[in-house]
Amino acid sequence: MPADGVPLLKVEDLRVSFGRDEPRGTVVKGVSFTLHPGRCLGIVGESGSGKSVTARSIVGLAGLGGFVHAKTIAFNGHSLIGQADRQWRRIRGRHIGYILQDALTSLDQLRSVGREVGEGLELHGVTRSAAERDARVVELLTSVGLPDPAIKARQLPSELSGGQRQRALIASALALDPELLIADEPTTALDVTVQAQVLDLLEQTKARGKALILISHDLAVVSRMADEVIVMCNGDVVEQGPAAEIFARPRHGYTRRLIDAIPSAHRRGSRLAPASAPRLRVAEEVRPEAVASGPLLEASGLVKRFRGPDKILRTAVAGVSFALAQGETLGIVGESGSGKSTVARIVMALEEPDEGYVRLNGLPWTGIAERERRARRRFIAMVYQDPLSSFDPRWTIERIIADAIPDTEAHRPGRVSELLNLVSLPASHRGRRALDLSGGQRQRVAVARAVASRPNVIVCDEPVSALDVSVQAQILDLLGDLKRELGVSYLFISHDLGVVHHVSDRVLVMSGGEVVESGEADDVFLAPRHPYSRTLLAAVPRLPIAPAA
């Protein structure tokens, strides 16, 4: 319900440009909105859309070399344009709270959480004594649901988990009870259950009559919180209006594509991105070599323990067993620390299991000498979350891919071009370096390298977590195409339940190193039996409407 009177924040025709020379690169091209107390504005868009710069400009932190122009930026009826730094400092924290994306880098590593949260109280002279401040800090940390707040207040940010740090950061933004809270991707790095807690917290703040600007690439998160939504693309506002309206009837093609690209909203295995690219043409010889019957990959009773810095043994993987058949995709979901990446490393024979074994193509894969394994490593390949760090920085794309082609056929001309073609990258990219490519292109190169040795199994460890949804959709489509046309099997690891549901035939749900539930993807996701699976699924924010198939 629209409030009457003067809006808390009124922004008219906000433009932000960067660069010393004319013409400057304009990154925000005219954003206008009004925000009333107790309302939430969501700004969605992909990386580079200008959503963060928009928010930062409102609090006078556009960044070095940024030029901000606006007809109006009025807070509580007072114009914020042309403020001196000193005036800004009085407004920031006191009246406008700002929550940054990365809690680890936004909190001072060398100061206790309590001091960080209490800093604003002290600076703005709200509390008079240290005792009063400490009491208020504990109160704040309690209000954001941090366990053992009195102890946590004395700890350093690095001693807290990611979710706890994010909540501490929110506590510091709430410390002075500002009328407006700006949250820039507040839950992006968090597990779903923690994300749900953080969103609950923001919702309570909103219910107390505070205004909220929520910036996110995640449409489902925004749809849960926002009353009004701005969709940005390359600095332009492509669509703006009431949230329910936009998610139910997106008018702009870009919004439509963003919604379509979300895997959870789709039937499993269908294409996510518009099929503009020509269908892949796969030569017969690219197919992996046929193998004997039986599972390609078999893991039985895997146990792995690590000794922490405090010399205490911790069990990372506690008895994990599974089998992967030809042409199948097995998804592993779990939150951070569930042991899913350790399973991937054991399967890649980068770690030896303490107990249990892995068999690949019917032959022992763990418990043997690396020398025996080496020749068979070509049958199993890996795609990493961060492709860039898996490429030698000195190498060109061509060399990276050629290096993965087995020596027996390394000199066959055209193989690299063929592989680039397979992942829909132009052959002209072969001379480039990975640094010059976009995130999606890098992941395509990683996929090309993975299929270069014609493996039976590809292990994907969070392959799309670092990508924008539309790029994620393209990579997922590519993996799907390769599965159909090359007959490879995937072990697909992700924290994103929507993604795993979309790609997997069968699913393992991991928690605390154990498999708590396994089964057909639809069974697990539509009718979870284990309480943990249910909690996990319940925590996933969903779009309010089912888009047309």
């Binding site: 980068l350 080496r374 890996m382 961060d386 490429f391 000195r394 040795s453």
Partner: protein, 294 residues
């Protein structure tokens, strides 16, 4: 080689040449000056005769301890020898000692650092403890000890400075290897089934060695300062030689009457060490910038 291949090679050479031109054009003025200074010193070392105004060894008892003038740019010493010509003459020996010491130091450091970094485990522990013992002594003390035990010749100076500066480099190289060994691309190469030797050859060695260029240029200036310091203490090349440190040593008896005997060789040392450092810092920025910005 087909004609297209040749064309490609040609284009690659062309690109490299234009890259060099672009590199020179974008040099900041300070770095350009420093590079020019180094070129001058290298010229002095290669062909001292072309730069000298006098015979550096000819004494002239009618012109002893002359202050700097147009006739004698850096003045003359107690025997009337032209100091400028002597500084030019000494360049070769000083640079040779500097290069030799840096070379020796890096060789020792490479041997220890690469072994420790690649082998790990007990070998790494042993080498690291050994380096820590060396670190416990002040660097200069090690060099002094060596020069006092053996006769002070240019060769012992090279060895003394080389040994004195090696532990620092060794530790740096070891760290490089350890961090590159943990890089994602090394693990990726392992999963491709490449042998350890191939991974070391293709990835670990070239990437770990990237900072070496910078270390060499930094080390050069440092070694020359060291060698000169030892010579000044009377533990380097003996005074009749125009090695820079020896010039300083010879001049200190007259420092109250003839300041130029100390200042001019000192300036040469400072100019070289400073230029080498400026150039290497610039190289470092360039190389690292390339890593980050592509």
């Amino acid at each position: 080689m087909s004609s297209t291949d040749q064309a490609l090679v040609f284009r690659a050479v062309e690109r490299r040449r234009s890259a060099v031109a672009a590199f020179v054009r974008t040099l900041p003025p300070g770095v350009a000056v420093a590079a020019l200074v180094i070129v001058l010193f290298v010229a002095a070392a290669a062909a001292p005769g072309h730069l000298q105004t006098h015979n550096p060894f000819r004494t002239d008892l009618y012109a002893t301890l002359q202050p700097p003038s147009l006739a004698h740019l850096f003045g003359t010493d107690q025997s009337g020898r032209d100091l400028f010509s002597r500084v030019v003459e000494g360049t070769r020996q000083s640079l040779t000692i500097g290069i030799g010491a840096t070379g020796l130091s890096l060789s020792i450091a490479l041997l220890l650092g690469v072994t420790a970094g690649l082998a790990g485990g007990a070998v790494d522990a042993a080498i690291s403890r050994f380096l820590e013992v060396l670190f416990a002594f002040p660097n200069l003390f090690l060099a002094l000890l060596f020069v006092t035990v053996f006769a002070a010749t240019p060769a012992t100076l090279v060895i003394a400075v080389g040994i004195g500066t090696a532990p620092g480099y060794a530790r740096m190289i070891r760290g490089q290897f350890l961090s590159v060994k943990r890089a994602g691309y090394v693990e990726a190469a392992r999963t491709l089934g490449h042998s350890y030797g191939r991974v070391v050859r293709q990835h670990i060695f070239p990437n770990a060695m990237r900072p070496l260029v910078v270390m060499i240029t930094l080390g050069l200036g440092q070694s020359i300062v060291w060698a000169s310091g030892l010579a000044f203490l009377g533990l380097g090349v003996a005074p009749p030689s125009p090695e820079w440190g020896a010039l300083l040593d010879a001049g200190r008896h007259y420092v109250t009457r003839a300041w130029w005997l100390e200042v001019m060789p000192g300036l040469a040392i400072i100019a070289f060490a400073l230029s080498a450092t400026v150039v290497s810092r610039h190289l470092q920025d360039r190389l690292e910038g390339r890593v980050h910005a592509g």
